[in-house]
Subunit: 153 residues, 2 copies
């Protein structure tokens, strides 16, 4: 179930997405919250780090594990502006994150497209928090990229 | 199709798995090969780094991306002693790795259990290279852990 807190923390994730945008990265942001504190945050850095594994969620999970000093995040909620891909959903499963809250679905690469129903069995999943803002950020990024590409060609 | 080269590089991945074992980590090892050169290697480091994302494949992918200076590994083969989990298979998909060669299946956490048929559509997958060695390393590790646990309890 969605709460006011969810909207608040999704705004924090959107701030991270804007940070990605400033660096010309695909604008996806993530924060991980434990007992009302942000213990890890991240944004997509695949271009900057030249590493396809540097998604927002992976950055935030590594940061949160470092904060807590352990590899499990059982009492945490992960907020991410776009539905996680299979890789990131796999990481969420390993860390035993309790709640996953995402903004806009990813109809091509989202984990719900590619994994079966038994995936993330113990994780509460909430979708659609600030969906319009999260989607518009992505759409405007890719539209600009397309226009730039059309101008070059 | 399996080749002599596959056996050779799987032995290198097994060496990495032995390195994990020496550090009391789950003994899984990985190497990534491009034009007959190992450009990235890694072993499971989840306990040492206290980070559930530090699987052998993720370490090796990040290392290989750093070696090549780019986020795609299209002409590479990834050798890993145990079937990748969903997270690592997701990373393999993002990097566009051309071939995936693994030793022993993972019947609980392997990506083939949890993802659908369209996953990794462009990647040639070869399984069963040095399967016995890869499986026995895992079995012996977990048997020792169980015995230790039974002694404590």
């Amino acid at each position: 179930m969605m709460s006011q807190q969810d909207t608040f923390y999704m705004q924090m994730a959107l701030q991270e997405a804007h940070n990605a945008l400033l660096e010309d990265e695909v604008p996806i942001g993530c924060v991980i919250v434990c007992e009302n504190q942000i213990i890890g945050r991240g944004h997509n850095m695949t271009e900057h780090l030249k590493d396809a594994t540097s998604h927002a969620e992976m950055q935030a999970i590594t940061a949160a594990c470092a904060t807590l000093g352990g590899k499990y995040l059982q009492n945490c909620t992960l907020y991410v502006t776009v539905e996680p891909c299979v890789m990131c959903a796999g990481a969420i499963a390993w860390t035993q994150i309790k709640r996953l809250v995402y903004g806009t679905p990813d109809i091509k690469k989202g984990y719900t497209q590619l994994t079966n129903a038994s995936f993330l069995p113990k994780c509460e999943v909430v979708k659609g928090v600030l969906e319009d803002e999260c989607r518009e950020l992505m759409q405007s990024f890719f539209e600009k990229k397309r226009k730039k590409y059309e101008t070059i060609c």
